[in-house]
Amino acid sequence: MLLAYRQKRTGQLEAFLALAASRKERSTMKDFSEKISSIAGKEPDKLTAAQKRGSFITKLLMQAYSPNETVVWHSLFMPTEIFYAMDIIPFSTEMVSAGLAGAGLSKDLVEIGESYTQCNDSCSFATCAVGAINEDIFPVPDFLITTSQLCDPAKKLASMSAKKYGRREFFIDVPFGAYSLNNEDYSIARKYVTRQLYEMIAFIEDETGKKLDYDRLAEIIKLSNETRDWFRKVREIRKGPAVIRGAKALDFSSVLLNIWGSNEAVDIFRTLYEEVGRKSSEGGLPNEKYRIGWVHLRPYYDNTIINYLEENCGAYIVVEENNYIFWDELDSDNPLESIAEKLLANPAYSDLQIKNRLYSENIEEYRLDGIIGYAHKGCRHFYSALHIASEHFKNRISFLVVDGDCVDPRAYSFPLVKTRLDSFIDSMSIRKDGF
């Protein structure tokens, strides 16, 4: 027998699709339905990595609306291996907000969200999600799992959602700055998070009435590790000539994706490896003049910035902060300790000296000419970090911080950004060519 609250999901999906259809003209994914139909007609083996990723994410999204599925709303960076081992569909409200921006829905939803928060300078990922929740277009969760990473609104958004839907939430406190801890303190932090993961599993078992099968988790962890291996190889190839367009690479956002632990993820990243390998053997993308490192995310409602850089200026993004595989291979014999380490290893959740060290390594390893940080205006965490980092690196490399918003299109103006991009290109040109 279906649980009563889950039956709402069908109506929520209908409302979501109706809203998307009504705003189709605003979408940057105007050809989305064509893409879907072209994918549908193709042999699965013939799909590109990006198509496979899009297809799998769409499948997960549709599953989340199924009344037959167990759905967890989780915060960003929550490792998903345990969810896959327990047949739970992961749903990240903030990631879906990025999709809503691409679908042209974010402006209206952010405005609705602002009537809830009563402010207009909070994080638009979270504000857009609140708008969607208030419009009741997200699938009601079975339960929620939230961590303290990274940002303050995410925690509050989750507790608000739990109350709204009358569902239970489990909260995990991840110590900040584990990167800087000495061995003894790190070991204590790992135990602290591991204990919470055990408690989380007990919570999920209580919610679902199903026990976690640790053998299955070990299998899932192997898949996660295999995915990691393929993506690390992709990163190695990208140290050579540019082989993939920046927006496409950014959209893999490997550290944010909630597909880790699935069979599909292995296939997606293996395909990506094969694609970039082929492109590399062909000599890479045309007219590479400058190599760019990209920090934070991009505007999801418009892709002109990156297109302009790559198509008009030959400035290719070759490395992204959100595609950095920061965790070690997971240990299938000690899965929870290992997942705790994955949570602790996130350099974004550490002091800025750690991030600066990683940027330094990227400058060398990827032979960068410049770094661009897209400073999401509502994000206290990244916005300030980018401004501090740009000062830190100003004598070493051209470092441009573009103030903007990833989800809310209302204040976006490409001509204003273009002026800054042109100056940035000039600055790289002077450093590189001396004129």
Binding site: D152, K156, Y192, S384, I388
Partner: protein, 367 residues
């Protein structure tokens, strides 16, 4: 002794040497004190917010104020600062301090990791963080922080909390012998005066207040509770003006009850660090707290509304504080359910306030 005499007497005993700064009420002053320092809370505007051009414009005025103050020498002579990882803005304040270390005064900064939830596991974990903090202070300043010293500091700070709670109890009266403005000043003095001096002088003043059964307000006033993190003291001044017609009877804020609500339980354990850890995570939570303990934010507020027979609540949001922005709707819902009038005011930790909005709110309470 009247209020002015109290302030004069405190100044006589003022101590300025060997001070060590803290910024968030989740920082255990007892540890700094046991290290032989004089803990000073940086809890109000330095007046140098605009000096900070480094942290980026979307930080709150508190972070800008501290950073600008440190750049301009407002905290000169202090030996160091401990910045608790209280929120995203304090996180970046610490990063900025490290990045421009040579420009900052004091130059030494320690980031204290504080769990965002309260349960036995978190208390145990915080205990280990506090031990690291102790080791760091010992190594960096060649001091020894023994259990004996910690227990002595705990006793001293518990005495302060006891006194401040006696002060808070006086405000339950129909006509309290102390104004909200005075309380703001008393807490401010308390945070920046050695507790040895404060306790002695304040207790004397408190006895006078306790004996005063007349009260300070001549006319009948609306009883206001101010809720927030760090609030702008101008709010209280304005509410308590004769022509505005309110009196502040309670502050559910980080400069109010959250600073002193509960003592360390000296009977719970013989281990002072465990005692401190339990006290700081179990105190009245601020908006940074998550998990089950977050529910206490609302229940504490509702209990205070009853205890102080509050006519209306002013929720003061420090601009750009994400925790407060996102907490507000749940506070609003809870107060609405209980039929408690609420006014949301957004602003910085100093400077102008929307006086018209405040005035009309208090006028409405009279209908």
């Amino acid at each position: 002794m009247d209020f002015e005499q109290f302030k004069t007497n405190i100044k006589k005993g003022e101590f300025t040497g060997n001070s060590f700064a803290w910024v968030c009420t989740y920082t255990p002053e007892e540890i700094i004190h046991a290290a032989g320092f004089f803990p000073v809370g940086i809890r109000k505007s330095s007046g140098c917010e605009d000096e900070d051009v480094y942290l980026g414009r979307n930080m709150c005025s508190f972070a800008h104020s501290i950073f600008g103050g440190a750049l301009r020498g407002s905290y000169g002579g202090m030996k160091g600062i401990v910045i608790a990882h209280g929120c995203e803005c304090l996180r970046r304040l610490y990063d900025g301090w490290n990045e421009w270390n040579s420009l900052m005064e004091p130059s030494y900064a320690y980031q204290l990791n504080v769990p965002v939830m309260c349960n036995n596991l978190a208390i145990k974990y915080f205990e280990s963080n506090l031990r690291s903090f102790i080791r760091e202070l010992e190594a960096n300043y060649s001091v020894s922080i023994t259990d004996e010293k910690l227990l002595k500091s705990i006793k001293l700070y518990n005495q302060t909390r006891l006194l401040l709670n006696r002060l808070a109890a006086l405000r339950e009266r129909a006509n309290p012998p102390v104004t909200g403005q005075q309380v703001w000043e008393i807490i401010d003095i308390c945070m920046s005066t050695p507790k040895e001096v404060f306790n002695e002088v304040f207790e004397e003043f408190l006895l006078v207040l306790e004996a005063d059964d007349k009260g300070l307000f001549e006319s009948k006033r609306k009883r206001i509770l101010v809720y927030g993190g760090l609030y702008n003291p101008e709010i209280v001044k304005y509410i308590e003006r004769e022509d505005t017609g309110g009196m502040v009877v309670c502050e559910d804020t980080c400069n109010g009850l959250r600073y002193f609500d509960i003592p360390e339980n000296e009977l719970s354990t013989s281990d002072p660090v465990e005692m401190i850890s339990r006290r700081y995570l179990s105190k009245m939570p601020c908006s940074r707290i998550s998990g089950h303990y977050e529910e206490r934010i609302v229940s504490d507020l509702l209990a205070l509304v009853k205890r102080y027979r509050v006519d209306g609540v002013v929720y003061y949001i420090t601009k750009r504080c994400e925790n407060q922005y996102w907490e507000f709707p749940s506070i609003k819902d809870a107060l609405e359910m209980d039929g408690v009038p609420l006014k949301r005011i957004e602003g910085d930790i100093s400077g102008d306030i929307p006086t018209r909005e405040l005035k009309s709110f208090i006028e409405l309470l009279n209908f």
